[in-house]
């Protein structure tokens, strides 16, 4: 778009603003990302590969993936159910539910972790019963999954609520009036309409699940090779002055972040195309 002289800012204003923005991005986002990879490869490719093959690092990568995968189905189920209820129905306590969904955003992750210690720790509310039945939650993988779940559950619901509200109930009602059962309606009408929004929410919550530090740190107990996820492992390696090991592990996380970014962009582009399809200008009516 060509702007006229009257609406144009002076050149020095434009270049200062542009310089500030790009400079900030470079120092706070670009440089650290480069630094991670430079440090990881500081002693060459073999040392990097060696650091990743190290059993404790390998187990941390594995555990990170396991937790992310374990959390996913719960997040999808909760996210779709909550968004469905909020977007398509009116009920008492709806605004309370909306507020509660945002709770994990408001609460510090460390506090979130402490909640689970209070509930399931050996001194906690259910601690006695759990140890009597030899169920281990705190300082074990189940606790870490719970903590991650708490941190990540809002992402999908947050993504779907505005989307489903915008789409309204008409298509679902049409499906029912045509004889579809609840499940047929969901699978054939609702799900295809929200699939990109759902995928977007999955990507965001997955990125958060893999990167979560605070809440997981509290319930993990840091047992090497057993309850260390990648972010926790990076900290341990770094504290041991194992720079290459720490940065090699960090580079995996950074790569995940990049993949997430690309996936997010692709999905965003698809979603925009879909909305454009909905609001596209109508061709003229063919008069017969």
């Amino acid at each position: 778009m060509k702007s006229t002289r009257a609406t144009q800012e002076p050149a020095w204003v434009r270049y200062t603003l542009l310089g500030l923005g790009l400079g900030f991005l470079f120092f706070f986002l670009g440089l650290p990302l480069v630094a991670v990879f430079v440090e990881a490869f500081a002693q060459g490719w073999p040392a990097y590969a060696e650091a990743l093959k190290e059993p404790e690092t390998a187990s941390a990568i594995w555990l990170t993936v396991v937790i992310a995968l374990a959390v996913l189905p719960f997040n999808i189920a909760f996210g779709v159910a909550a968004a469905w209820a909020i977007a398509k129905f009116d009920f008492r306590g709806k605004s309370l539910l909306i507020t509660l969904i945002d709770l994990p955003f408001a609460v510090s992750p460390v506090v979130a972790g402490l909640i689970f210690i209070l509930l399931f720790g050996s001194q906690g509310w259910f601690g006695g019963w759990l140890s009597a039945n030899e169920i281990k939650i705190i300082f074990a993988v189940p606790g870490m999954i719970l903590a991650t779940l708490f941190i990540t559950f809002p992402f999908i619901a947050r993504e779907l609520i505005p989307l489903m509200q915008a789409q309204g109930k008409d298509e679902e009602e049409a499906a029912v009036s045509l004889g579809a059962t609840g499940w047929q309606m969901f699978r054939r009408v609702t799900l295809p309409n929200i699939k990109w929004g759902l995928l977007y929410g999955v990507i965001l919550s997955n990125a958060r699940a893999m990167g979560e530090f605070g809440a997981v740190s509290v319930v993990s107990g840091h047992i090497r090779g057993e309850t260390n996820t990648l972010p926790l492992h990076v900290e341990i390696l770094y504290n041991e002055y194992n720079a290459v090991g720490a940065f090699a592990a960090a580079s995996i996380l950074a790569l995940l972040a990049l993949v997430t970014l690309v996936a997010k962009t692709v999905v965003e582009w698809r979603m925009r195309k879909e909305t454009e399809m909905l609001t596209a200008d109508l061709p003229a009516e063919k008069t017969s």
């Binding site: 008409d170 298509e171 009602e173 049409a174 499906a175 029912v176 009036s177 045509l178 004889g179 579809a180 059962t181 047929q184 054939r188 009408v189 295809p192 309409n193 399809m277 909905l278 596209a280 109508l282 061709p283 003229a284 009516e285 063919k286 008069t287 017969s288």
Partner: protein, 355 residues
């Protein structure tokens, strides 16, 4: 299939959407629910479809209780104002939906589905669009596809919620006529909701005029237009001049002796005669404005600080040669009087009533 609506009431919080509605819709009839927005017409339609539940009352389909039947089991075709086509399916799949979701035992074969869908698309004259997506169609085309989709399950009742509300005037007129033909060919009962009086009068066999959750009048289009049962119906259907008793001293004198004093007279703009000389029982006025609007000429007369709207045919206007500022005489050919209780007065009373 006939529909009986028995004493249906519905509230949303403190708002009374429907208040004790009674209505019979015989088989094969095309009924219009007409009223201003918020009068409850859409709510009534959704209750018939089973998308909303009534607080009180019953719905009967062909004499059988249907109040508690699930929307999916009612076998009604529903057409939405904003089409509600499945946006991720092609036109073909949209129309096929109702057949594909049938239980396996009743579901037709793929070839049969294909045949029926193409037949329906032919019926709405859009078979050449089968592979398009809804977003690639115009509004009028979308609504015709929505109709084909609703008809695919062979409903006994067709319910249409402001079906042409989102379309422009020309397409709307075309679709109206087309809906009427379709209804006559399909031998089903249809109910459609509209706030457009012209649409209701043109298409329907019977018009149900609603206001504030109540039925004001039920009748044929001609009945409700030429013999409105209440002041509301008079004012809602077409333009009207309202004469209040207190404005017109002469008419109050004649009305003296009646039980109440708050009577009102209604006169349609095209039921008023204008002349250059005083006629029997006519009133003096000044011409304020002359607006030729298409086939008619609308004249605004000023009579005792009140505006009276008159519609003349072009021929009559040419004969009269009216211009702003002229002094003329006017008299109603036909008028209807309602008492303060909104009850219509008898005809004998209203002749000479005004003057």
């Amino acid at each position: 299939m006939s529909i009986e609506i028995r004493n249906i009431s519905k509230r949303f919080g403190n708002f009374v959407a429907l208040d004790d509605i009674k209505l019979d819709i015989p088989t094969g009839e095309l009924v219009a629910l007409l009223g201003p927005s918020g009068c409850g017409k859409t709510t009534l339609l959704r209750i018939i479809a089973g998308m909303e539940t009534a607080d009180e009352g019953e719905i009967l389909f062909s004499g059988a209780e249907a109040t508690h039947l699930h929307a999916r089991e009612r076998n009604v075709g529903f057409v939405f104002q904003h089409y509600a086509l499945f946006r991720h399916m092609t036109v073909f799949e949209n129309v096929a939906f109702g057949l594909r979701v049938k239980p396996r035992k009743e579901r037709p074969s793929d070839a049969e589905i294909r045949r029926r869908v193409m037949e329906l698309l032919g019926l709405v004259q859009l078979d050449w669009l089968a592979d398009r997506y809804p977003s690639q169609l115009s509004g009028g085309q979308r609504q015709r596809i929505a109709l084909a989709r609703a008809l695919a399950v062979e409903p006994k009742v067709l319910l249409l919620d402001e079906p042409f509300g989102a379309l422009d005037t020309k397409v709307r007129k075309e679709l109206r006529r087309w809906l009427r033909r379709l209804h006559d060919d399909m031998h089903i009962s249809s109910v459609f909701v509209t706030h457009d009086q012209e649409e209701a009068l043109e298409v329907a066999d019977r018009v149900v005029v609603m206001n504030h959750g109540r039925i004001e009048q039920i009748g044929s289009p001609d009945e409700v237009y030429s013999n409105p049962a209440s002041p509301f119906v008079y004012q809602f259907l077409g333009n009207v001049n309202v004469f209040h008793e207190r404005v017109h001293g002469g008419y109050a004198e004649i009305e003296r002796g009646a039980a109440d004093g708050g009577a009102t007279a209604f006169v349609r703009p095209h039921d008023i005669e204008i002349a250059h000389q005083a006629l029997e029982q006519s009133l003096p006025a000044t011409v304020q404005h002359v607006h030729p609007i298409g086939p008619v000429v609308r004249i605004e007369l000023l009579h005792q600080s009140e505006i009276v709207e008159v519609e003349l045919s072009r021929e009559r206007h040419e004969a009269l040669q009216l211009a702003a500022g002229q002094s003329v005489w006017f008299r109603p050919r036909q008028l209807k009087v309602f008492g303060a209780d909104a009850a219509p007065r008898s005809t004998s009373e209203k002749q000479g009533f005004l003057f």
